[in-house]
């Protein structure tokens, strides 16, 4: 609240400060028959202190000066002149003027220091987050690099010492590591595309069934020990979607399901259209039609028979670089945040919930549809 007050423009701050001083002086003036002028000084001091807590230094100094002049003019004998009668009053006026100025300057300085401390704390938090990200990232990149360096060292040093079988295994290891590195780099590129905020889905008519089977084919190797159950609504329309982005969304979700659920378990994939009709009654323009607007949503669910997600971590799994506390290696902690980012780029939503014996991701994307008849 105080933060917000300091943000209003300087001229407005001055106006408000002066207004407050005038208001308090006015009230005191009306009550001056019952009130000693020294009490008025304290009241004015109080109001200037309050102003110092809220506003910048310049408006505060203006208010302080004005209050001193007002006090002198209206309250110190002889009234209605800037002349001060007794020496005692002169000292009082001088003291008032000094105290109010010191008060204003000190309060302001305290506020500035507080602000610096806050900024430093926030900076500290960002640095900490950044370190976590870098640690996680360098781990994910360095593991496959170590595998490659180690394997090539072995192959280069003295190939005669290695059995044919070991050689093959080392070479296969290089291949897997390279694939993993490429995967990480792809994820990072997707992430930076999202971070830049410039992601503009390039929407085109998409056959979701084609898209889904395309992704499944690309993940053939990873999914070969899982049982896929695919249920696609009959006569599903074409949707206007960004094929590349949606490919990545499905790829990440299915890759996760393959990686983190036991072999030979089921993965259920459902694709449905949800049509919402918005009815309007008796509008002038469309007297004959009661359907005002029909919106279509693509609903995709992917349900696995894995361990599910710890309930306290569900809200965090879509965070960047977040990994479940006991997850096995292989992921980057980026997959699900990319899923969320790309779905949201389509104005869609993604929901994660635990179901009996597994986890379910539900993606809903509002999209233009087309039923082309041949």
């Amino acid at each position: 609240m105080l933060e917000r007050l300091t943000k209003i423009s300087r001229s407005l701050q001055i106006l408000i400060s002066l207004g407050l001083v005038v208001l308090i002086s006015g009230i005191c003036y009306l009550l001056s028959d019952w009130m000693d002028y020294k009490v008025v000084a304290f009241l004015l001091l109080l109001i200037v202190s309050l102003i110092a807590i809220m506003f910048d230094i310049f408006p505060v100094l203006v208010a302080a000066s004005l209050s001193a002049l007002v006090w002198n003019f209206f309250f110190i004998e002889p009234k209605y002149t800037f002349h001060i009668g007794s020496a005692e009053d002169g000292v009082l006026f001088l003291m008032y003027f000094l105290i109010v100025l010191i008060n204003a300057v000190l309060t302001n300085r305290i506020r500035r220091i507080e602000k610096q401390v806050r900024e430093k704390e926030e900076k500290g938090k960002t640095v900490k987050l950044y370190n976590t990200l870098l640690n996680s990232l360098s781990h994910e990149l360095k593991t496959p690099i170590s595998a490659i360096v180690g394997a090539t060292d072995n192959l280069l040093a003295d190939p005669a010492k290695l059995t044919e079988e070991n050689k093959k295994e080392l070479i296969a290891g290089i291949s897997v590591a390279a694939f993993r590195l490429n995967q990480q780099v792809e994820n990072l590129l997707s992430m930076s595309r999202l971070e830049s905020g410039f992601i503009q889905p390039k929407k085109d008519w998409t056959d979701v069934s084609e898209l889904l089977y395309d992704v499944i084919q690309r993940l053939e190797q990873q999914l070969k020990h899982h049982q896929l159950i695919i249920q696609i609504e009959e006569n599903l329309p074409l949707y206007k979607l960004d094929y590349g982005l949606m490919e990545q969304v499905l790829y990440n979700l299915l890759y996760n399901a393959a990686l983190y659920t036991p072999e030979y378990s089921d993965i259920l994939i459902q694709v449905n259209n949800k049509a919402d009709k918005i009815y309007s009654l008796n509008t002038k323009e469309e007297a004959h039609s009661s359907i005002k607007k029909e919106t279509n949503q693509l609903v995709l669910t992917i349900e696995d028979r894995g361990p599910g997600f710890p309930p306290e971590e569900i809200s965090k799994v879509f965070d960047k670089f977040y990994r479940l506390s006991n997850s096995k290696t292989g992921g980057s902690g980026l997959g699900l945040s990319i899923v969320k980012g790309f779905v949201e780029a389509h104005n869609g939503t993604v929901l994660l919930e635990n179901v009996p014996h597994g986890a379910r991701f539900t993606i809903e994307i509002p999209a233009e549809t087309s039923y082309v008849k041949i």
Partner: protein
């Protein structure tokens, strides 16, 4: 077809060496160039049978090299690129590239693309029947057989399939397919293409959901593959 002369234009020494080893061990003759200007010079002096062109060259943008080459060079050009951006690929294909590969690529994939590019376009005169294992497309008789049974296709379906089959192994962009099959007024109407591809797959693929002949190139187009 082998012993064909290939020219590799790529600024990365490691990739150049890798391509040389890969291609020479598959009995191609390989020359390589490090820069666009060197590549253009070699191409003009000893026109190769095929050019592999990297899009990210130090001295000149690969797209403009491609345009310069296409002013006189009619043989195949295969694009290598680290950018998997669909726009980039589509624009290279529109500028006359025959095919593209995104780094990192698999060696087997590269060889398959080179072979299919060198084979060139199939047409009624030189090879009337495209044989794709379980599928035969007779371009002269305009008939299609699947497992020796005739397949009934509508005129549009046949047009689409024969176009893909004639450019076997090569990616055809959405715009190209729409223009050739439906006409220039339809190049934005991708919904037709989606529906007809799905329809075709049901008729010619053993499992329409796991196509082996009509392959989706995400965001770019479709590719007809004759053999696994």
């Amino acid at each position: 077809m082998n012993n064909a002369a290939l020219l590799v234009i790529d600024d990365e020494a490691q990739i150049r060496r890798l391509l040389e080893i890969t291609l020479e061990s598959n009995s191609f003759n390989v020359e390589s160039a490090e820069t666009a200007s060197e590549g253009l010079r070699i191409a003009a002096n000893h026109p190769p049978d095929l050019i592999i062109l990297d899009l990210g060259l130090p001295d000149e943008n690969g797209h403009s090299v491609l345009k310069k080459l296409r002013e006189w060079y009619t043989k195949p050009v295969i694009i290598l690129s680290v950018q998997s951006s669909e726009d980039d690929i589509v624009s290279a294909l529109d500028n006359g590239a025959n095919d593209y590969l995104v780094k990192p690529f698999r060696t087997g994939e590269l060889l398959a693309r080179i072979r299919s590019a060198l084979r060139g376009i199939v047409n009624e005169e030189n090879n009337p029947v495209v044989d794709a294992g379980d599928l035969q497309i007779d371009l002269a008789a305009r008939s299609v057989n699947k497992n020796k049974e005739p397949v009934k296709l509508t005129a549009t379906e046949y047009k689409l399939l024969s176009l893909l089959a004639q450019h076997e192994g090569k990616v055809l962009t959405h715009q190209y397919l729409l223009r050739e099959v439906w006409g220039p007024g339809y190049i934005r109407q991708t919904q037709y293409l989606r529906v007809f591809i799905a329809q075709l797959r049901k008729k010619i693929e053993t499992d329409a959901n796991r196509p082996v002949h009509i392959i989706t190139e995400s965001g770019v187009g479709y590719r007809f593959i004759a053999k696994d």
